[in-house]
């Protein structure tokens, strides 16, 4: 069989599967996708007390610019960042994790890790990330 006929055959199988998926899987609404009990908007963060900022980006981006008094806790070098956090953190602090922009998943993942490792619930992640906070409170 010629290669392009093989490719068409594979495409037809994949299209069949895709049609099956669209019939079985319900498309989620975008607002539902972004609903997360740990997600906080800049306005909500402004109302929190004792905020301790965690910058979840890598060290190069952190050094290029970060929020005042933020601690760099990157998943790439967890032990170093977590050690630094422990030295400044108190259980009364509300931790807010940020990274770059809307598409950044690191802050959510880092917040999850911190909730586990610190055994604390008050660890949130910032909607819109670093840029959103700068726009909100330059």
């Amino acid at each position: 069989m010629r290669w392009w006929l093989q490719a068409i055959l594979i495409l037809l199988f994949a299209l069949g599967g895709a049609i099956g998926s669209t019939l079985l899987v319900q498309r989620p609404d975008l607002p539902a996708l972004s609903q997360d009990e740990w997600l906080r908007t800049p306005a909500q963060v402004a109302e929190l007390g004792n905020v301790l900022w965690i910058d979840a980006r890598n060290v190069e981006r952190f050094e290029a610019g970060h929020l005042e008094n933020a601690v760099n806790v990157s998943l790439d070098d967890w032990d170093t960042g977590f050690g630094e956090l422990i030295s400044v953190w108190s259980p009364d602090d509300t931790i807010v994790v940020y990274c770059d922009g809307e598409g950044c998943e690191l802050s959510r993942e880092t917040a999850e890790h911190l909730r586990k490792d610190l055994g604390q619930e008050n660890v949130y992640w910032l909607e819109g990330g670093y840029e959103a906070w700068l726009d909100f409170a330059p």
């Binding site: 069989m1 290669w3 392009w4 006929l5 093989q6 490719a7 068409i8 055959l9 594979i10 495409l11 199988f13 994949a14 299209l15 069949g16 599967g17 895709a18 998926s21 669209t22 899987v25 498309r27 989620p28 975008l30 996708l33 979840a56 980006r57 890598n58 981006r61 998943l75 790439d76 990274c99 770059d100 922009g101 809307e102 598409g103 950044c104 998943e105 690191l106 993942e109």
Partner: protein, 139 residues
Amino acid sequence: MKKLIGHLLSLIVGGFFVWAGIVKLTGPTEFFQSILHYQLVGEDAAWWTAMFLPWLEVFAGIGLIIPQTRSGALAWLTLLLLVFEASLVSALARGLNIDCGCLGGSGSSVTFALARNGFLLAALVGIYFISICPRKKIL
């Protein structure tokens, strides 16, 4: 010996794509979200991609393992990897610090995914020269 290496490479690479496709099929919403994070396509296109791409990975992966459909599968997988690499480079260039979404919500970084896809592309080139090119010369 060359033939055996060709089959073995096809089994490994094809198996990887079958696995990657199945992981995405089991979490379509997460994959949909991962596509949106790249900020390259709109909501509708991201949804159709999330519905179609995992199946293409699964069937192209199976096609690569089967010698009779290896050439067609190789064409699809090469195209897929080139598109993935372009998307990852674009995310890096725009400073998006996102999960690659290559294996559902596995937490792979964009740079790791770039390197892994580079190896997969090299393996596909190897499969082409070992399994497909010699056959063409004979024909």
